[in-house]
């Protein structure tokens, strides 16, 4: 027998070589999720922490309203479902905004000459060398009523009164958009860079105008990049708490803030926070599963 290929050489010792990755996955992925899962079924202690006693109270509190003293017949509790719904919707709008700006940006970069592309990509990532918290606080200062944006517009007489951007849904979306834009740009860039521009020529040759080419050829071909970008923006936006906390008000409360509150200080309710996390995780998993299913179907065809 010859030297053999690597798969033969390492056959049988595969699990040993995979050990480091299993440790990483175990410690940083499975263990925390498992802990959350277990905590969500425990009884709360009033100053934070848990009592090791099985209870469904956390989930019950999330979905049902049993009155002030817990003795009324259960009614569906809309408060938390509402917060979830608002979060999905905010994250969705932020994703759409990222897509609308990110796609042309990625297209622009991918169609520059190969030498300057890396420079453009570098420029896109520069703001992200600064901590997310600092960027979000800066955004707050920029758009508040006495901030540079309003003062600039006022001094030029473009507006008569401050825009009142802060503490609105729009401000939250702006924050989310700014936080996660590169996650949209990079995968789309990767897809557009691989796009064969002779496909556009072929479409033009077959009597398609510009918009038809975009709709029927370019978008379907770079779709994997677009979907990846949307997931990478939507998922973290859904659980984000910095942007809604700092830029939004009480009315723009999102899941991230709700969960954060349960674990902060003495006022928290750990099992409830864990239950909300598990529900969020489930939603995200569903989104990803639907995507994976679609992808498989496309490949199978």
């Amino acid at each position: 027998m010859g030297a053999g290929n690597s798969s033969q050489i390492y056959q049988g010792s595969g699990w040993k070589l995979l050990f480091p990755s299993w440790i990483i996955i175990g410690i940083f992925l499975l263990a925390p999720v498992l802990m959350m899962g277990v905590y969500s079924f425990l009884t709360k202690e009033f100053r934070g922490g848990v009592i090791w006693q099985f209870s469904l109270d956390a989930y019950d509190q999330f979905f049902f309203d049993r009155g002030l003293f817990g003795d009324e017949p259960p009614r569906l509790e809309w408060t938390y479902i509402g917060i979830f719904w608002r979060s999905i919707w905010q994250a969705g709008l932020a994703t759409i905004a990222c897509l609308l700006i990110g796609f042309p940006t990625a297209w622009f970069i991918a169609t520059r000459n190969p030498k300057s592309r890396s420079t453009w990509l570098f420029l896109v990532t520069i703001p992200y060398w600064v901590n997310l918290l600092i960027r979000t606080v800066s955004m707050k200062f920029l758009i508040r009523d006495t901030g540079p944006l309003n003062e600039f517009l006022l001094s030029f007489g473009i507006i008569d009164a401050p825009l009142g951007l802060i503490n609105t849904n729009f401000a939250v979306q702006l924050g989310l958009f700014y936080s996660y834009l590169p996650f949209m740009v990079l995968p789309i860039y990767a897809a557009v860079e691989r796009y064969d521009f002779s496909l556009s020529e072929a479409a033009a040759d077959l009597y398609a105008g510009r918009w038809t080419i975009l709709r029927l050829v370019i978008l379907p071909v770079v779709k994997p990049g677009i979907v990846a970008g949307c997931i990478l923006v939507f998922v973290p936006s859904l659980g984000a708490f910095l942007a809604p906390d700092l830029l939004g008000g009480a009315k723009t409360f999102m899941i991230g803030s709700l969960i954060e509150e349960q674990f902060k200080g003495n006022a928290g309710n750990w099992p409830f926070g864990a239950a909300a996390s598990m529900i969020l995780l489930t939603i995200v998993m569903c989104v990803l599963l639907v995507y994976a299913r679609n992808q498989n179907k496309v490949e199978a065809r």
């Binding site: 033009a204 040759d205 105008g209």
Partner: protein, 357 residues
Amino acid sequence: MASPEIAVSVDQVVKRYGNVTALNGVSLDIRENEFFTLLGPSGCGKTTLLRAIAGFEDVTEGHIRLKGQDLVDQPPFKRPVNTVFQQYALFPHMSVTENVLFGLLRKSWSRQDAERRAQDVLELVQLSDFADRKPGQLSGGQQQRVALARALAPRPEVLLLDEPLSALDLKLRQAVRMELKAIQRETGIAFIFVTHDQEEALTMSDRIAVMSAGHVQQVGTPKEIYETPVNRFVADFIGETNLLDVQVLSVTGGLAQVLMPGNRNFKCPAAAVVNAGPGHLSVRPERISVCAEAAGDLSATVIDHTYLGTDIQLHVKLVDGEAMSVRLQNAETTLMPETGVVVGLSLEAGAARLLAD
């Protein structure tokens, strides 16, 4: 005004990219229902010209007319010509049928008519069984035929083909040549075919335009291009030839009197632009025969043989040191001179041609 049988008329087209001139005043008439080939080495401007006809390149100067109508200001999607691309450029997310339907639906055919037409063209290229496959599931040859079907479906006035066979392997390429020619006859539209492969050009074309350095060197039938090249470039590019440096004594009525290396006189046809003085005599290796030294137009020393199966190639050296090659048919009766022997070479009357540079 172009006469009615001209499909595409290229009129003094110039294309410059910055300082580089890709097309330098090209004029051509492509007739209806003809298989027309643009042949030349890479960088000669043939692909640029094809892309200018398709509308992917703007021309710097000049006009391109399709059946008398100027195309120059029309965007590609308004020109009634279709292209078969070098790498096919099939839409990877669409099935074979959807690819073929694409152009038809953009030209607002009804769904029903378009589907019938798609079926017909897929039948023409013998791909009916693969209609529902994606391009990624087809072989190179099948993809090439999808590209052809897609371009033919909307009934273009002219079909443009940009080296469509170059991505295929040799065996397939030879089979597809005949098929392509048959399809051209069947559809009855003009094909403008770009290639750098002279064999491809000779076997398929009704007429060939040989291009080099942004100029058209010669336009003619394969026979004209091969047998009566107008200049040294064409003679050298098409097939194999011997180019001898000779002294032209006189030219009268297309016939030249020349002094061969070794100082023998020789009479041969001359290209139109040749004058007295130094010249080049082009003679194909298969148009030379070996004879006794005194009887030949040239005398030469045999250097080597190469066995080619159907032929034997003889490498010889003239008195002035120039190398020549002679092709002898591989037959019982062929006399094969030994290496080192001095022989006479006689050039077939009319087959040797005097050329300008």
